[in-house]
Structure formats: structure tokens, C-alpha cells
């Protein structure tokens, strides 16, 4: 969708070749069909956000059940098996179905706006990523039919979010739970890699004129780094999952001890993915913070090149520290020392970011609005999580902390105090842009304080629990170990945190319908997304902006005449090219993803043995699903990458009659 391509556009008068009905482009602008066929990065981003927040609540309920079980010693809220399911699904859900897609929501919605693009590079691939993510989420959660509807042999995954072999083997987990987990993660991997490739191509190729790499907003930079991390790290887990699937279904022995397999191999493959994954969760958050702090300090980011470089540096080092999750696996002295030192090294670029955030605020005018509150909460909480992280890098001390509640405290400070706080800040920050309404300061700050207090009351005592020897993933504990009070306080805190999240969402939903309307650029923003009306029109930018400085919109606001003159020239040039080029909607990415869903369910929910009837279902559904995916991809390619042109009146509304101008420009 390159709007500056020098291709001759067909005009309306030209004969439009008759399309076969099957290939007619969907035209729905509202209703269910419009959502299933949308290729608009903003609508896709919104859907990512909605699904992510739904699963955030699901994961939250799972967490509350865990805390209810542990509130008192020898708790009886959950059975052992159900508790194990809860912590497995809580981890998997929060990482893959809440934080990652919520970050993806911002990548989708905000990143193209920040670089002055009208959409991502491959709009239909973007839709495919979204729906494949949904398919993966369904497969991952389909095992709940077991406990909820009493279907034998079907359980939600219960072998830990990290699925250590050989516990995941058919011998030790004979039901279907691990199969759902394997296939669910595989589909999520497909979705993540497709989306990441899309973002990389978009950021490299679709920047507005003048938007050099070193003028990119930091959030876009972190999107780019994160996308590279996903593309490079997911293959490791994909391979591991394929091997596990083969072990479980086809009798291979990658991890099967009796056949000479090596369970330790799983750990290496998993953490080669798993540690970069940690940065996949935190780098977008750092990007959001690096947008919010300058805006609300009314100053540019302190040391932009160093912040960008340290982000990339964290990304690189993230691939060199995976074995610090394995300090207790007997790696020997040299390997342990190497991974300990590499882990310490990663504290430097991370610390640099914190210094620069403080530097950004120093000498500024801090507007203590709700997004800023969450952002400052992030800096404080992330600092605490970072310091306990440094403690873990001291390998011998870590052998005491590993798999104890100290680790739970550490990574919740990083993932809630870090990632979630930043994402909640981002929702507040960009809400006026997305929906043209603003959350009330009182309710926003109230939800912040409840969340902040609840979070600390929940997780700070866990440091003490861990140091006092409480291992994680335990469904019960005896009252004579000194863990009662800290667990009780943590559970109370968890319910307060839950209340805070409930208030947060209630306020968001209220604001969506009834909130105070705001005009363009309510925060006095610095980056291009604030230069467009809210909610943003489908074409984003009436005229593709020309960028002159790092804080592009801040520059525009201070050089209005120069910008206005440039705009006039650019608008005329674009009109001469035939107007604003928009991609057609398409149902085929959705169809392709539906096929993957059928494969996902078919290949996991039935037995792989020849002497049981299930094998016909397994084979049949897998083939059917594969066929549906192929059909989707086939028509997706047949319908071509065409689009239509929009012509705008002076209010930015598309002129009637031109809206569905089926131009056949080959771009």
C-alpha cells in the first residue's frame, strides 16, 4: 500500500473487470461482518485490546483462586490438581493471552500513527495474526470443558507454563491437557511471528518522509526491537513444541529418557525462547513509559540515543542469559559463572533507562495526571523488581531463591509493577486519541491508588515468604513453617488489587460511553499520533506528514506556517495520484485462521492410537482444517492486493461516490 508509487491508476471511467461473486470484496462498515473482515490496523488493534483485556480478567480470576487457596494453611478451596491447573493457566494466560496481545494492541494501533503511515505493510496478514491469536487462545483454553462440564480425560493444561519435560510426556500427563497447551502455543507463535514480520516491514518501509530511524518515537523503536525478539526467539519454542508433540503422538524420543532422550534439552530450548520472552513483555512497556514521561514532563526524552541503544542492547543480551533460569540444574562452574555475569551485565542498560527517565523529569513541569501516575508507579515498581533481579544473578544465592516465592515476588514486580502498570498507563494515555473521550482524573487516580496499594500488599510479603523457604507451585503448606501471616496478607492484597482492576475497568467502560469529550491533542503531545483528529479517521492522515525533528508533532506545533505550506503541496500531489489509497477488506484471513482453529482442536482433542475410534476424528478434522486454511490462503492470494481511493472534503469526510471506487491499481 505505497501511496507514492508512480503507477498509473485506473480512473472510475475504466471498465472494472467483473469479479466472481466469491471474490467480491466485503463492504460492511458496521456490524459483525465488518469486524471479521476488517484490515484497518486501528480496528485490529482495538480487537487485540478487547481480547487481551478479557483474558487479563480470566487470568486475574485464576490468580484470585490461587490466593484464596493459600490464604490459610492447609487450604481446601481447590484440589491439588485444580490448583496446579490454575497456576499453569494463570501464567500461560497472563503472558501469552494478556500482556503480549495488549502490547500488540498498541503496536497495531499506535505504531503506524507514530510513523505517519496509513496502515501496516500487510493489512490482511495483520487480520490473520489477530484471528490466529484468537484460535490459539481458544485451543489453549478448550481443556476447561473437562473440569467445567465433566468431560473425562480433558483438562486445562496443568504441567506448568514452562512445561518441563518429562512431566509433559504421555507417561506422566496422559490426558489431553498438554496437547492443548502445545497446539495453543504453536498457534500463538504463528500469530506472533506473522504480526512481528508485519511490524518490522512497516517500520522499515512505511515511515513518513523525514522520519529517519533516529527520529522514531521510542515506543516505535521498542516495537521494532520486540518484533525482532519475537521473530528470533519463537522458532526455539516452535522446535521444542514440535518435538514434544512428536514424542507425545508419534513415539519419538527427543525427551524420552527410556529412548536416550534428554529432558534438559527442553529447558535450554524453552529458555532460549523464554528469556527473550521476558523482554518481549517488558520492552513495549518501556516504550510506553518513554512516551508518557516526556509528554507529562513537557520535555524531550533525556538521552534519546542512549535509551534506544540500551533497548536494543537489552534485546541482544536477552539471548545470552537464558540459563540463569537453570542455575540449579548442575551446569558446572564455568557455565554458571558466564550466565551469572551476563545477567549482571543486563542490569546496566536497564539502569540506564531508569536514569534517563529521571533525567527526563528533571527540570520539567510534571503534570500529575493519571497516565503519569501509572508511569511513575512503573518506574518505582520496576526498580524494585530490577533489584531483586540483580540479586538472582548471584547464582549461589539464587539456588536458595530459585522456585521460591522470592522469585514470584521478583517477576510480579517486573510484570505487574512493570508491564501491566505501563499498559494501564498506555490505555489512559491513548484513550482520548482512540475514543475521543477522557477518563475522569478522580476515578483514574483512585483506581491507580487501589491497584498500587493492592499490588504491593500482595507481592511485597512474598519476598519474605521466599526467603523463609516457601517453594512455589505448592497447593498447600503446613502452619508450623512461619508462612501463615505473609500468605494471609498477600491474599488480602490480591483481593484489593482485584478490586482496583475492577474499578479501573468500570471507569474505562463508563468513559467509553459517557466520558468527557476532548478535542485533538489533549495532553499537548509530542509525537505524530496526536496530530490527527480523534477518534482517528480510517485513513489516519489526510496528508502524509513530512518529519523535520525527533518530536515531530512538537516541531509542527512550533512551525505551523512551514508545515501548512508543505501540507498544501503534498495534498495536491496526492490528489493528482488519485486520492488516498485504502486496502479492501477481506474475509480470507479469517477463513485461514478458522482452518487453523479446526486443526488445533482436531489434532489435540482425540486419541492418536489406531485402535480407538478417535483417530478418525483426529485425522479427519486435521485434514479438514488444513484444507480450510489452504482455501483461505488461496482466495486471499487470488483476490490480490488491490484497494480503492478516498477523496476527502474539507472536513476530512470521504466524498460520496468515491468511497467504493474499485480502482485496480497494482501496488
Amino acid at each position: 500500500m505505497d501511496t507514492t508509487a508512480k503507477t498509473a491508476y485506473l480512473t472510475k471511467e475504466d471498465a472494472v473487470p467483473v469479479q466472481p461473486k466469491l471474490l467480491a470484496h466485503p463492504t460492511a462498515k458496521t456490524g459483525l461482518m465488518s469486524w471479521l473482515t476488517t484490515v484497518d490496523h486501528k480496528r485490529i488493534g482495538f480487537l487485540y485490546g478487547v481480547f487481551a483485556l478479557f483474558f487479563f480478567l480470566v487470568g486475574g480470576v485464576e490468580a484470585l483462586l490461587i490466593r484464596a487457596q493459600l490464604m490459610y494453611p492447609n487450604g481446601t478451596v481447590l484440589t491439588a490438581q485444580m490448583y496446579n491447573t490454575m497456576f499453569t493457566m494463570h501464567g500461560t494466560t497472563m503472558i501469552f493471552l494478556a500482556v503480549m496481545p495488549l502490547s500488540a494492541a498498541f503496536f497495531n494501533y499506535i505504531m503506524p500513527l507514530q510513523i505517519g503511515a496509513r496502515d501496516v505493510a500487510f493489512p490482511r496478514l495483520n487480520a490473520f495474526s489477530l484471528w490466529t491469536f484468537v484460535a490459539g487462545a481458544i485451543v489453549l483454553n478448550i481443556g476447561w470443558v473437562g473440569p467445567i462440564f465433566g468431560v473425562d480425560g480433558h483438562n486445562a493444561p496443568d504441567a506448568g507454563w514452562y512445561g518441563y519435560s518429562p512431566l509433559t510426556s504421555k507417561q506422566f500427563t496422559p490426558g489431553h491437557s498438554v496437547d492443548y497447551w502445545v497446539m495453543g502455543l504453536q498457534l500463538l507463535g504463528v500469530a506472533s511471528i506473522a504480526a512481528s514480520l508485519n511490524f518490522i516491514v512497516t517500520i522499515i518501509n512505511m515511515r513518513a518522509p523525514g522520519m529517519t530511524m533516529m527520529r522514531l518515537p521510542v515506543f516505535t523503536w521498542m516495537t521494532l526491537v520486540t518484533a525482532f525478539l519475537i521473530v528470533l526467539s519463537f522458532p526455539a519454542i516452535t522446535i521444542a513444541l514440535v518435538e514434544l508433540m512428536m514424542d507425545r503422538n508419534f513415539g519419538t524420543v527427543f525427551f524420552e529418557v527410556s529412548g536416550g532422550g534428554m529432558p534438559i534439552l527442553w529447558q535450554h530450548l524453552f529458555w532460549v525462547f523464554g528469556h527473550p520472552e521476558v523482554y518481549i513483555l517488558i520492552l513495549p512497556a518501556m516504550g510506553i513509559i518513554s512516551e508518557i514521561l516526556p509528554t507529562f514532563s513537557r520535555k524531550p526524552l533525556f538521552g534519546y540515543p542512549i535509551v534506544v541503544f540500551s533497548g536494543a542492547c537489552i534485546g541482544f543480551l536477552g539471548f545470552a542469559v537464558w540459563s540463569h533460569h537453570m542455575f540449579t540444574t548442575g551446569m558446572g562452574t564455568v557455565a554458571t559463572a558466564a550466565f551469572a555475569l551476563a545477567t549482571m551485565a543486563i542490569a546496566v542498560p536497564t539502569g540506564v533507562k531508569i536514569f534517563n527517565w529521571i533525567g527526563t523529569m528533571w527540570g520539567g513541569r510534571l503534570m500529575m495526571r493519571t497516565p503519569m501516575m501509572f508511569a511513575l508507579g512503573f518506574v518505582w515498581m520496576f526498580m524494585i523488581g530490577g533489584f531483586s533481579g540483580v540479586m538472582h544473578s548471584a547464582a549461589p544465592a539464587d539456588t536458595q531463591q530459585n522456585d521460591s516465592y522470592f522469585v514470584i515476588a521478583h517477576f510480579h514486580y517486573v510484570l505487574i509493577g512493570g508491564s501491566i502498570f505501563a499498559l494501564l498507563a498506555g490505555i489512559h494515555y491513548w484513550f482520548p486519541l482512540m475514543f475521543g473521550r477522557k477518563v475522569s482524573e478522580f476515578w483514574g487516580k483512585l483506581s491507580f491508588w487501589i491497584i498500587f496499594v493492592g499490588f504491593n500488599v500482595t507481592f511485597f510479603p512474598m519476598h519474605f515468604l521466599g526467603l523463609n523457604g516457601m517453594p512455589r507451585r505448592t497447593f498447600t503448606y503446613d502452619p508450623n513453617l512461619g508462612w501463615n501471616t505473609a500468605n494471609y496478607i498477600a491474599s488480602i492484597g490480591a483481593f484489593v488489587l482485584g478490586l482496583g482492576i475492577a474499578v479501573y475497568f468500570a471507569v474505562m467502560i463508563y468513559t467509553y460511553y459517557k466520558g468527557e469529550k476532548v478535542g485533538r491533542d489533549p495532553w499537548d503531545g509530542r509525537t505524530l499520533e496526536w496530530s490527527i483528529p480523534n477518534p482517528p479517521p480510517e485513513y489516519n492522515f489526510r496528508v502524509i506528514p513530512t518529519v523535520h525533528a525527533r518530536d515531530a508533532f512538537w516541531y509542527e506545533k512550533n512551525n505551523r506556517e512551514q508545515i501548512a505550506a508543505e501540507r498544501a503541496v503534498a495534498e495536491k500531489a496526492e490528489a493528482d495520484h488519485g486520492g488516498i489509497h485504502m486496502p479492501f477488506s477481506s474475509i480470507w484471513p479469517f477463513v485461514a485462521s478458522c482452518g487453523l482453529l479446526i486443526v488445533g482442536i482436531g489434532s489435540t482433542a482425540f486419541e492418536a492410537k489406531w485402535d480407538v475410534p478417535g483417530i478418525h476424528w483426529k485425522l479427519g478434522l486435521s485434514l479438514l482444517g488444513g484444507l480450510v486454511t489452504l482455501v483461505g490462503i488461496y482466495f486471499w492470494s487470488l483476490e490480490g492486493n488491490e484497494g480503492y481511493h478516498l477523496h476527502l472534503d474539507k472536513d476530512g469526510k470521504p466524498v460520496k461516490g468515491h468511497e467504493q471506487d474499485h480502482g485496480h491499481g497494482k501496488h
Partner: protein, 416 residues
């Protein structure tokens, strides 16, 4: 602009304060002392001490940095905040972009701080890896093997009697590891099924038991003591209740214990004349799910409790014990458990040759007394979900009447 009247705010504050008082009353606020049985903050041996000292280094370094950075951050937030709306709308501050000297200085300072942590880390990695060269000769070796969900301890250097003919086998015990105090103990860790992890916090950090991997580590207890341990790697349904104990004894006590362990199981002579049928046995009370099976009395002096357990039970009933011994074979307990000298040679479950001298049942889970032991053999599934003994009961349709439970309990407790 206030959206909520101030009296409402005050009422809310009162409510929260009152509620927290109610919720927190009766709580023991000493948890910050971290002095539990499994505390990592109390080192009772050189390995744990080395790890704890390193922890303190990391703790102090990060605390100092936190106070410095946090102090600057707090000052920045206070000093530069907009105090009024007019302040917010004022002319923006100078649009400065950074200061390379400050950046480089801070990076240098961070690297220095990390060096302070790195040096003792490296020292401790090499120290905790294996028994120091000078003490290798003095080291005592045992092998710990993880099973779903219990631990087997093997003493490769000790040959135990299997039968009266003098056949020997390495000494094997279950769930309670007895070691000599003041001597380095080198522990080989193995597993027969999934990954487990061996962790006795007061003596040392954990080491994973991984299939196809010959891991080892070492620890040493400064002085005689009774230590709590637990599996630290999620290993399936009953991971939380896979626990164990370590008992460190001085040289003399250890030798005495070993002497006794090497012998055959204790046999109690059955009474010569048949006894009249005993009075009907009352059913054991019901237990709640996950009900506590340990007593405070035991915790007060666990080592003494362990010593007391070495002596013969006070009110033994030889007739009952004989009946229990027969049941042990009749109910096929011997298919999985060994009792050396009593003809039981099973290897899938813990060795029970001197079971009566142990302080716990079900892998360090509940106390080894008549009530708790009966609770375990009556319905192992309710104590430890998913365990193999419960599965064997189901597969082989094994049921135990109240009288049989009592007889088996008496027999097992007689195995001193």
C-alpha cells in the same frame, strides 16, 4: 475539583482502617524475622552460609543504589511537579536533550556496583560446587533419588544385611536422610521419573534431580540438628506434599544409628498361645482435606523427638504385630516395599525395614504416630493426591478394615 464530598472520604478512610484492624487482628507480625523451619536466612552449614553471605552482599548493594536512585527520583517528583493548573499551562521548560557526561558517569558507576556483586558471586560458585579439595577424603557420600512423590536415600558405602544367611546390599532409607554432623556430605542426586529438586534451605540451596543427568552437590551441618526439606521443582499433582527431613548426628550417634540400620528388621515374637478375639476396633475419625498432620510438641525439640522414635513403642501388642506382619504380605504391601529380614523385597516404594524409627509418614508430610499412620494407610489418596499406593489400592482392589488398619499400624511402628 472534588467529586466526592469530604465527609464521604473520611467515612471511607475510617471504614478501611477499621476493616484492616479487624482483618489483621490475631495475625502474627513476626513474619519478617523469617525464622521458620525452612528459612534460607538461618544458615546451619558452610554451603548455606556462603550463599547467605552472598545474598547479603547483593541485598546491601542494591539497597544502597535503591536509596540513592529512589532519593533522586522522589526529589525530582516533588521538586518539578506542577503545583497548579496554571503551572501546567506555563511556557514549557527548556527542551534539553541529555548530557553524555552524566550518562557515561552513571554507566561507569553501575558497572562498579556490579563488580562488587560479581567477585563474591564467582568465589561462591566455585566454593559451593563441590567439596573443597582438602576435605574430600573426609567427605561422606550418599545418593538421593526422587520418586513421584518421595525421596529414596542410598548409602553406597554401607552394606546392610538382607537375610539371615548374610547376603548384603547397600543401605537404603526413605524420606529421612541421616548424616554425620561436622563432616562434608556429597550427595548424588538422581530421579526415576520426572524432575525433582533437593532443597534443605538451612543447609544449602537446591539442586535439580534430572533424568539422564548425574548431578551432585555437597552440604555440611555445623552441629547435630533436625532440618526440614522439600522438593522444589514442580513434579505433578502432589509436588506440594513431597517433603523430607535431614537429621544430622554427631559421630557417636551416627555410628550407633548406622549399626542399627544395617541389621535386619526387628521381629517381635508372636505370643505362643492364640489370644482371644480382640474387642471390635473403632473406626478412625474423619480427616479434613489437607488436614494438618504435625504437632507443635514435635516442633519444640524435633531432634529429641527423633531420638525418642528410635526406642520401642511403649505399649506394644505382639499379637497385633504378628497379625499386621501377615497382612503386610496378604495385602501385597511387600510387592512395593522392602522389609529386610521379613521377606518383603519390593523396590517401588520406600524401604520400610526400620520405618518405626522415622518421625514422618508420606514423605515428611505427617507425623509417624498411630493415628496419622492409620490415616495414611486407610486412604493414601486423601493425604497425597495421585500417589502410587492409592493407585495400587484401586488397581488391586485392596481394602483395609478398621481392625486390619490397626494391625498394620502396630506392625509398621514395631519396625525400629
Amino acid at each position: 475539583m472534588r467529586l466526592v464530598p469530604s465527609f464521604l472520604v473520611r467515612a471511607g478512610q475510617l471504614l478501611v482502617a477499621g476493616a484492616s484492624l479487624l482483618l489483621l487482628s490475631g495475625c502474627d507480625f513476626n513474619f519478617w524475622r523469617m525464622d521458620g523451619h525452612q528459612s534460607t536466612m538461618i544458615a546451619e552449614g558452610p554451603v548455606a552460609r556462603s550463599q547467605l553471605n552472598l545474598f547479603y552482599v547483593t541485598c546491601w548493594v542494591t539497597l544502597v543504589i535503591f536509596i540513592l536512585v529512589g532519593g533522586v527520583l522522589a526529589y525530582t517528583m516533588w521538586r518539578f511537579r506542577a503545583r497548579t493548573e496554571a503551572d501546567e499551562r506555563a511556557e514549557p521548560p527548556p527542551q534539553s536533550h541529555g548530557n553524555p557526561l552524566v550518562e557515561i558517569g552513571l554507566i561507569g558507576a553501575s558497572v562498579l556496583a556490579l563488580v562488587i556483586i560479581a567477585v563474591p558471586t564467582l568465589t561462591a560458585i566455585w566454593y559451593t560446587y563441590d567439596v573443597p579439595e582438602a576435605e574430600k577424603k573426609n567427605a561422606y557420600e550418599v545418593t538421593a533419588t526422587g520418586y513421584q512423590w518421595w525421596f529414596k536415600f542410598e548409602y553406597p558405602a554401607e552394606q546392610a544385611a538382607v537375610d539371615a544367611a548374610g547376603t548384603k546390599t547397600p543401605l537404603v532409607t526413605g524420606n529421612e536422610l541421616v548424616i554425620p554432623a561436622g563432616r562434608p556430605v556429597r550427595i548424588n542426586v538422581r530421579t526415576v521419573d520426572v524432575i525433582h529438586s533437593f532443597w534443605v534451605p538451612k543447609l544449602g540451596g537446591k539442586i535439580d534431580m534430572i533424568p539422564n543427568r548425574a548431578n551432585f552437590f555437597w552440604l555440611q551441618a555445623d552441629k547435630p540438628g533436625y532440618f526440614w526439606g522439600q522438593c522444589a521443582e514442580y513434579c505433578g499433582d502432589s509436588h506440594a506434599v513431597m517433603r523430607f527431613r535431614v537429621i544430622a548426628l554427631d559421630e557417636k550417634d551416627f555410628a550407633a544409628w548406622k549399626e542399627k540400620q544395617l541389621g535386619l528388621a526387628r521381629s517381635v515374637a508372636a505370643p505362643a498361645t492364640a489370644v482371644a478375639a480382640a474387642a471390635p476396633v473403632a473406626a478412625l475419625r474423619a480427616f479434613k482435606v489437607n488436614e494438618v498432620g504435625v504437632s507443635e510438641a514435635f516442633d519444640r525439640n524435633p531432634l529429641e523427638a527423633w531420638r525418642a522414635k528410635q526406642a520401642v513403642e511403649k505399649e506394644e501388642n505382639p499379637a497385633l504385630i504378628a497379625q499386621g506382619r501377615e497382612l503386610f504380605a496378604a495385602k501385597t504391601c511387600n510387592a512395593c516395599h522392602s522389609v529386610r529380614g521379613h521377606g518383603a523385597m519390593g523396590v517401588q516404594g520406600p524401604d520400610l525395614t526400620h520405618f518405626g524409627a522415622r518421625t514422618t509418614v508420606g514423605a515428611g508430610l505427617i507425623e509417624n504416630n498411630p493415628e496419622q499412620l492409620r490415616r495414611w494407610i486407610r486412604d493414601p489418596e486423601s493425604v497425597k493426591p495421585g500417589n502410587k499406593m492409592a493407585k495400587a489400592y484401586r488397581d488391586n482392589k485392596i481394602t483395609l478394615s478398621d481392625a486390619e488398619q490397626v494391625a498394620l499400624t502396630a506392625y509398621l511402628l514395631s519396625l525400629k
